[in-house]
Amino acid sequence: MARKISMKDAINEALDQEMQRDPTVIVMGEDIVGGTGSPGESDAWGGVLGVTKGLYAKHGDRLMDTPLSESAYIGAAIGAATCGLRPVAELMFIDFMGVCLDEIFNQGAKFRYMFGGKAETPVVIRAMCGAGFRAAAQHSQMLTPIVTHIPGLKVVCASNAYDTKGLLIQSIRDNDPVIFLEHKNLYAHESEVPEESYTIPFGEAAIVREGKSATIVTYGQTVHRSLDAAGALAKDGIDVEIVDLRTLSPIDTDTVIESVEKTGRLVCVDEANPRCSIASDVAATVAQEAFKALKAPVRMVTAPHTPVPFSPALEDLYIPSAERIGDAVRQTMAA
């Protein structure tokens, strides 16, 4: 039965249900129990924002607080995955990936390839991403292009609670390493989510708004900014279609191209920095595969090529806003 829950609760429920279903699923990370050394479960914080709260009471030592050493525990998770467990390791913030990148891109992502297809590495690395949380330059980055660049990794970045639960369950059941990115600004966002377990396949974008005038391709927090922009544009008779990519590797090129063939106009919206981003990737793919369908130049709306500012006023300017998205759509309409 479906009811409204937040994205944060959807993550918790997916982990809980998969731990119940499959005894090989374990969860590890910094402070994910949060009660180490304290006397009782009531002290277990369940992670820095409480996402894993309550799971320790149900599943005990299958949740593990790790030392503050990303290279150690991400490496351990990847190793455990090759030996029969299905670890879900929480990297807390994607910004911390630098210290364990070798374990991710040189080890986990390469095993299937280097061992003749015989090695499986069913690990999920969960991490918060994105700006708007007043968390400054080292805790706010949208580093999606860094992980999509690496063959051998699957990359998820959902925009709502329904997709989050289905894609996280799919990620846990998948036999390859998955980088599961959670926009921290969306943790409180609620949508209808079935109580039952379910999956959403990788590589299937969602059309969150149907329209005829122009296509917006985006993912994560900017899906909602794009919906806001669409509402304002509709008042002027501009009827945009919004494609939520949901998974960035693999990426659903077919749905993007079908939409652009219908509308003839494309605006790529990405909270990542502009160079070599998801936005530039989608723009290039459409230019190559569907150039003749385009009635106007492709426009990109991204963060500027700067670190995320700590000043709230500047951070608000940094993230693509509904106004900037709307302006870009109007420019494609005028061209």
Binding site: P194, Y198, T199, I200, P201, I207
Partner: protein, 368 residues
């Protein structure tokens, strides 16, 4: 104000509908409209459908514009006889207030109910009504919302129940066969306390209803079979297999188009909702088990027409003339039954030609 003025309002299809887009009028001012006549196309985020007139009369005013969104129960048009002056119609339009949805309308009465049965937890909907129970049984891959356009209308003829069979909708997900579904229908009627009931079964739900009627004639007062399974061997295997196998929207859309004479009714939301259902744990296994039990290799396992015809029970057979899943010719396979073929409808006449189907069923029930 003349009581001869009858409003045409935006319909409410299902609980979640808040507004609808009037896509196109099929009638113009000055037309005389008959009840059941197709008067306009309305689209919601869930479904597009033709609206059939609830009332007849002279269309004096088209208040609503095409290609425009209106809230549920908004005034779209005005019916009134010629002798009502224009000024009075103007005043009526001017004074019309769209009823606000009640605060937390969904809490007015329980939208969906659940009941525990030996087969597991089942979801159902109920509409109060005087008289005998009418139980609506959906088909393969469907759910109780397949009766969206019927459940309220049929409440005028009795106390209506619509359930989700196991493996479907929000009922328990487990692999079962056709016989188990019959057990479940009986268990549901006992648990929900329907008493002896008129069964209305669509497609596979028709076969399930007919099997229960043969097994427990005392519990079934009449049978209405809508594009029903169980009346002939032939069934479109591409539909059944395609529905079970579809793993993406792209694969599902052409499969679902088999269901309707008007394929434009298959919009993205309809396909998305089906995929959301199919992706629940256990649904795949449940659908495969039912398909293997009822429709293996493109042949129907249960052939019930002769036995139902011989049984002492009133039977109404309704079929969409354009049915691409089970051929309409099978409507003739119940000896002695009343048969109604619905033109321009496919496998889902209860949705595509809801007003006509409702009228036929109510007429049939009134004659029992």
């Amino acid at each position: 104000m003349s009581d001869k003025i009858i409003p045409i309002i935006m319909p409410k299809w299902g609980l979640s509908m808040q507004e609808g887009r009037l896509a196109e009028w099929h009638v113009k001012e000055g037309d005389v409209i008959a009840p059941g006549q197709e008067i306009m196309d309305v689209e919601t985020d869930k479904i597009a459908n033709v609206v059939e007139a609830a009332d007849g009369g002279l269309l004096r005013r088209r208040v609503a514009a095409e290609d425009t969104v209106y809230p549920v129960r908004a005034l779209l048009g005005v019916l009134a006889p010629e002798d009502v002056p224009d000024a009075e119609i103007d005043a009526y339009v001017e004074g019309f207030v769209t009823p606000e949805p009640a605060e937390g309308e969904e809490e007015e009465g329980p939208a969906y109910l659940f009941v525990e049965t030996p087969a597991g937890r089942l979801r159902y909907a109920e509409r109060g009504g005087e008289g005998d129970a009418i139980v609506l049984v959906h088909g393969f891959g469907g759910d109780l919302d397949n009766w969206l356009f019927n459940i309220d209308a049929l409440a005028a003829s009795g106390h209506v129940f619509a359930l989700d069979l196991p493996g479907h909708g929000q009922s328990v997900k487990k692999p079962v066969g056709l016989d188990d579904l019959v057990d479940t229908l009986e268990a549901f009627m006992d648990a929900a306390g329907t008493g002896p009931a008129h069964l209305v079964g669509h497609s596979m739900g028709g076969a399930v209803s007919a099997m229960l009627a043969l097994r427990q004639p005392g519990k079934v007062k009449s049978l209405t079979l809508v594009d029903a399974a169980g009346l002939g061997e032939e069934i479109n295997a591409a539909y059944i297999d395609g529905f079970v196998a579809a793993e993406s929207r792209r694969e599902m859309k052409p499969v679902v188009e088999h269901l309707f004479a008007d394929k434009s009714l298959v919009n993205r939301q309809l396909v998305d909702d089906l995929m959301k259902y199919k992706r629940l744990d256990g649904v795949d296994a449940a659908l495969r088990a039912i398909a293997d039990s009822a429709f293996a290799d493109g042949h129907q396992s249960a052939l019930l027409g002769e036995r139902i015809g011989a049984a002492d029970i009133p039977v109404l057979v309704i079929w969409g003339a354009e049915d691409a899943v089970i051929p309409a010719a099978q409507a003739a396979n119940v000896p002695g039954a009343r048969v109604e073929i619905i033109p321009d409808a496919g496998h889902m006449p209860q949705m595509e030609a809801a007003a006509r189907v409702n009228e036929v069923i109510r007429d049939f029930l009134a004659g029992i």
